[in-house]
Symmetry: C2
Subunit: 232 residues, 2 copies
DNA sequence: AGGTAACTTACCCATTGGTAAATTACCCTA
DNA sequence: TAGGGTAATTTACCAATGGGTAAGTTACCT
């Protein structure tokens, strides 16, 4: 919706680009953009659309229009709408999972505490495609579908990482209620989502700047609860 | 979707209920359930549907089916789908706004700090209709529509309340960056949303129990940032 | 018996996911 | 240099869904 190149524009550039663009070793009787390139374009566009509007509200035609192509091409390349979604989901999920996992695996010794390191890794992984986060956390996926299951799988994997940290925090604070741990996971997830959403609305902010901002927010939030807080 | 009473069931109960149910001073040549009662039923069902699935994914027919009636009746009573949404939005928005406003107006002196008082008020206001929160925070509203504007209006009003507290916190922590304040509002909103979502998935939890749980979580989160945290 | 509120059946139309069948443009060889 | 082969892409269509409406039907009350 933002930078929709006119069809004529795309079309005109097509031939020249295919010569200069990605040399995918293509050598066959072909017209237009090589399939691999087109697939990359489509995936990027679809990821942004799905992330911005959610699965339900995203139309295949809209994704196609962003790339300067028509619906049937997407179906031929990726299959159904859900298949297209899945094609977006996997790379995003893997990227995020890997980023968070390595951030948590780092020695917990020095400067930034784990949650802040995780946030920083998150921002770094999402830079350039921030809406991707909402591909994972899309509430409008058809319940019971493959897509919903796979997305849930990735979310759970990420949550499991958070669970470790959460459990530690709670134990230190004197709570061993498993429900508390679960709620804390929800809260943390919601916090990340909110921060990413803010970030999307402030495109000029670098990942590093975001991480620093989060550090400031955390230290400010520290004063909310004076010393201890467990009534009843 | 959960407790969908069979049509015959509802139909059969209709006549008997209208005699015992709400005596709305009805005195006219009528069949079925008096309009005022039906409207209340519809509003309750619609609020839950909208909250659970979002505006876009909610179908008028589904709301009608929940109540045991057909589409045209809803349209006759409430107008378009958007009108129905607006009819749900207003009471919910007013209720939440009022609850939060009074919670923040209370003397800030004694036991629970403001954020926790606000959360408690929130849970109390949402009890019995927890999905209502997501009617206000529905991302799938048609952009630019009346509905989107009104919902944004309520959200902003609530955010403005939060902004006061946020600004105070940040000033105390040494930051006067207005972007920090904005991000903190997002974070707080996201936190509330996440907690409400958790609550919806744990129907047995009372509002009071939720408030206590939040207090525990807050005190646990306190240890995330050791003493101060503002690098570079 | 007729008036009226409550409610439904049957329909229209725009949107959207999806497909089949062309058509275009390129490379390669004879 | 004409034409065959093939990848890329489109036009034209189908079927299902869902918002919305018109007109009729039911059941109650007086």
């Amino acid at each position: 919706m933002t930078t929709l190149p006119s069809k004529a524009d795309t079309r005109a550039g097509t031939r020249a680009d295919s010569r200069t663009d990605t040399r995918t070793g293509t050598r066959a009787g072909t017209k237009g953009v090589p399939r691999a390139d087109r697939e990359r374009q489509v995936l990027a566009a679809a990821t942004e659309e799905f992330g911005r509007h959610g699965f339900e509200a995203t139309t295949v035609a809209a994704v196609a229009a962003r790339v300067g192509v028509t619906k049937p091409l997407l179906h031929q390349y990726f299959g159904s709408k859900q298949d297209l979604y899945l094609a977006c989901l996997d790379p995003v999920g893997d990227r995020l999972l890997h980023a968070i996992r390595t951030a948590m695996a780092e020695p917990d010794t020095d400067a930034p505490p784990t949650p802040l390191r995780v946030l920083h890794a998150l921002f770094a992984a999402l830079d350039g495609q921030r809406e991707a986060w909402f591909v994972l956390y899309d509430p409008s996926l058809p319940p019971g579908s493959d897509a919903a299951h796979r997305a849930a799988h990735y979310r759970d994997a990420i949550d499991d990482l958070a669970a470790d940290g959460a459990a530690g925090l709670l134990r230190a604070a004197g709570s061993d209620d498993p429900l508390d741990a679960d709620a804390l996971r929800y809260a943390w997830r919601g916090l990340c989502t909110a921060l990413v959403r803010w970030w999307i609305n402030h495109p000029d902010q670098s990942p590093d700047a975001m991480a620093r901002r989060c550090a400031r927010l955390f230290s400010a939030a520290r004063s909310v609860v004076p010393a201890d807080g467990e009534p009843a």
